[in-house]
Amino acid sequence: MRKNMSDNKAQRRRGRRGPIASVALILVGLVATGGAYAAFSSASANAAVDLTSPAVIEEGQKLFAANCATCHGQQAQGTENGPSLIGVGSAAVDFQVGTGRMPMQMSGPQAEQKPVQFTDEQTQALAAYVASLAPGPSIPTASQLEGGNVSNGGELFRINCAMCHNVAGAGGALTEGKYAPELTGVAAVHVYEAMLTGPQNMPVFNDLNLTPEEKKDIISYLSYIEENPSAGGIQLSNLGPVSEGLFLWIFGLGAIVALTVWITAKSN
């Protein structure tokens, strides 16, 4: 599903950069408007695994020892290379591992999103193990992710999130090569977990700052704008005036200069 989604996205993005003057682009515009309905999907929490079962925790411990302990320490107590995971809760593990950020391949300005390394069951097992070490934020349930108030979510999103992630969730730059990632195509459960745990440089939005109800509103807003692409047409990656200006200079003026050449060329 995830693969499918990113394919679909890549296709749309290429379309945006295609030559505007051609009819093909209009077709892409149509595809973008109509097709985007299909593109969105919110992966909901996998409730099939019981995170408190000793068997699951034991499996998680094995996986942890093999894959994570080098940096985070045998007891998840943390080392020079990685922070302590005691008390981070299952939500943090599900976010970091579930989006492919962990295990990290190399150190850089920030942990990059990569293809996910573990199956859902393995991720759950890791989460169960870490959660068993000390209480912490846990993975939200499906009911925490749907049916919020879209306009309240929009307002909260603008106040708490848009400065880094952009008003349309297109992402933005941070200091020293870090960045706030694009939010389109991110599963609702991961958005929720990110707010709850504050991965990397993102601040923590605990339940006393943004209540579970408010988090749900924000997620509903994000799903709404993802399901309803711009009424104006191609969105130019939602980057605002910069992409609009570039588009106008390259395609708008480009087309018009081509026309001026045609108009003044001798007819043959």
């Binding site: 306009s151 992630h165 730059a173 200091t175 709404y224 106008l248 395609f251 026309l259 050449v261």
Partner: protein
């Protein structure tokens, strides 16, 4: 004396023309302008693009005024866009949302208006570059350059006031930046913002005030200056590129009626059509994403429209900590310096024709354009200016460059700071060298012909490539250009050499000391004889 004569023509058209002429003497105008000749070149249409975008802006803008409410009165939005329902916002924002989501064709007209505005400023810029690089601003057109420059500034002002009207988060933060910039100006800053915003920022008045500027005062000025600009185009007649049969005393091209009217008239529809096509398919300024203005939130990637980018970039490139307390007052150098840089840059663009006229002392009328290579230093100065502008412009998207090319924003900004200083110098030197090299190549081709690619073997066994001489028309194309040499410093009639004269002489050396003179007939004959040996 009775001037009544029988209608020259019968039939409806004839009668109507007669009716009109007897009341307007329009036949005189038709006689005068109907067969006026316009030269044909693609680059001569760029100014027309600007004119046509302005017409498109007027048409779409008038439609928008029927629905837009320039008021900051708070309302609760109850329109069709779900994620903003129930949110408190100004009437300006709410009515813009209504135009976008509740009026058929409203969003289309908004997008036509905004895209045409971007095109308006862009085409003015491109037109100015064409005029600059071909020397079309020389006598007698210096004043028309000034008028055009004023239009460029007015167009930016129109753009910025329009950008601010919807009172959304993006434009509100844009106004916040203007507020901060003006506040930083010495002596008058505090009071100017106070008066502009009708009290504290954001206040309750700014949208209404910008609206009167945007739809009344500024368009009136734009219109007046367009009329002046076009009047001078008619008085001067259009410039033309040099070529066989073209002289300083004639204009070669097509008559207004019918060919030019068909082409220029058709071009209006083409420009409008391209704008409509873009507006139908590509989103611009999605204010529903930005939400209503509120001083607390901001979006990553907050930028002005492209034509204000150079000013935003100038602000971004200032190093930290530039502020001093002198005589009990605060001097915000991080504002004053960029404002000065921008003012000086624009002043230089405004003054260039007068400076060049002074340096050359050339009092002749110039209706034949320069090919950019034939004025190497002017072309190089232009390239330096374009580079300077481009660096400032790039700086306005430093954050987006950082995320899209996976580099650090600090690295981008530091690099651009260095480029802002050395970029124009490098551009100047490289461009001048390229222009001179192209001039040399022209000489070479003229004197020795062009390579045909045909290899022949001489009786002696030697292989040579046959060079073919140009015909008289192509030769003229390469030799008919303005040649300048530095002035000699000679005492004036009073026997003195003044500072101004020295400066003029050294400037003329700067302009013309590297000089490639056009081939003369004798030179050509000598070269021909030489090649026959």
């Amino acid at each position: 004396m009775s001037s009544v004569t029988a209608p020259a023509q019968s039939g409806v058209v004839g009668k109507f023309s007669n009716y009109l002429d007897e009341r307007t003497s329009i036949s005189g105008a038709v006689k005068e302008f109907g067969r006026k000749v316009f030269p044909d070149h693609w680059s001569f249409l760029l100014g027309e693009v600007a004119l046509y975008s302005f017409v498109i802006i007027l048409l779409s803008g008038s439609f928008l005024t029927f629905f837009f409410q320039a008021s900051m009165t708070p309302v609760h939005y109850e329109g069709s866009y779900v994620p903003l329902k129930g949110i408190e916002m100004s009437a300006a924002m709410a009515s813009t949302l209504d135009i976008s989501f509740d009026i058929r064709g409203g969003l289309l007209m908004r997008q036509v208006h905004h895209w045409a505005a971007l095109l308006f400023v862009a085409s003015i810029g491109l037109h100015m570059l064409r005029v600059f690089f071909t020397g079309a601003f020389r006598k007698p057109r210096e004043l028309n350059w000034s008028i055009g420059f004023v239009l460029f500034v007015l167009a930016m002002a129109e753009g910025f006031t329009g950008y601010s009207l919807p009172d959304d988060l993006l434009s509100g933060n844009g106004l916040r930046i203007i507020d901060g910039m003006v506040l930083g100006l010495p002596v008058v800053g505090t009071w100017i913002t106070f008066l502009l915003f009708g009290g504290e920022f954001p206040g309750n008045d700014i949208v209404g005030r910008l609206y009167s500027l945007h739809i009344l005062l500024l368009p009136a000025f734009v219109l007046i200056f367009i009329v002046l600009h076009l009047m001078f185009v008619i008085i001067h007649k259009h410039t033309q590129y040099p070529g066989p049969g073209k002289t300083e005393e004639n204009v070669v091209g097509f008559p207004v009626l019918p060919v030019y009217a068909a082409k220029a008239g058709g071009f209006f529809f083409l420009v409008f059509g391209v704008v409509a096509l873009i507006a139908a398919t590509v989103t611009i300024n999605p204010i529903w994403n930005y939400g209503p203005y509120d001083p607390s939130p901001v979006s990553a990637g907050t930028q002005p429209d492209w034509y204000i980018g150079f000013a935003d970039g100038a602000l971004r490139l200032m190093p930290p900590h530039l502020e001093t307390y002198w005589f009990g007052y605060t001097w915000s150098w991080n504002i004053i310096i960029p404002v000065l840089v921008l003012v000086l840059f624009l002043a230089a663009a405004f003054a260039y024709p007068f400076v060049e006229a002074w340096v050359t002392g050339d009092k002749r009328e110039h209706h034949l354009l320069d090919r950019p290579r034939n004025a190497p230093v002017r072309t190089a100065i232009g390239a330096a200016g374009v580079t300077f502008y481009a660096v400032l412009w790039a700086a306005a998207s430093s954050d987006i460059i950082a995320t899209h090319f996976k580099v650090t924003m600090e690295g981008v900004i530091n690099t651009l700071q260095i480029l802002l200083i050395i970029g124009p110098i490098i551009a100047f030197m490289v461009t001048k060298r390229i222009a001179l090299a192209l001039q040399k190549k022209d000489r070479e081709i003229l004197l020795h012909g062009f390579e045909t690619g045909r290899i022949v073997r001489l009786p002696g066994g030697e292989f040579i490539e046959v060079h073919q001489q140009l015909d008289a028309y192509d030769r003229w194309q390469l030799v008919s250009y303005n040649d300048n040499a530095p002035i000699m410093l000679r005492p004036n009639p009073k026997g003195k050499i003044t500072g101004g004269m020295r400066m003029r002489a050294s400037l003329s050396r700067f302009f013309f000391e590297d000089r490639i003179a056009p081939v003369t007939e004798n030179e050509y004959k000598l070269a021909l004889e030489h090649s026959h040996h």
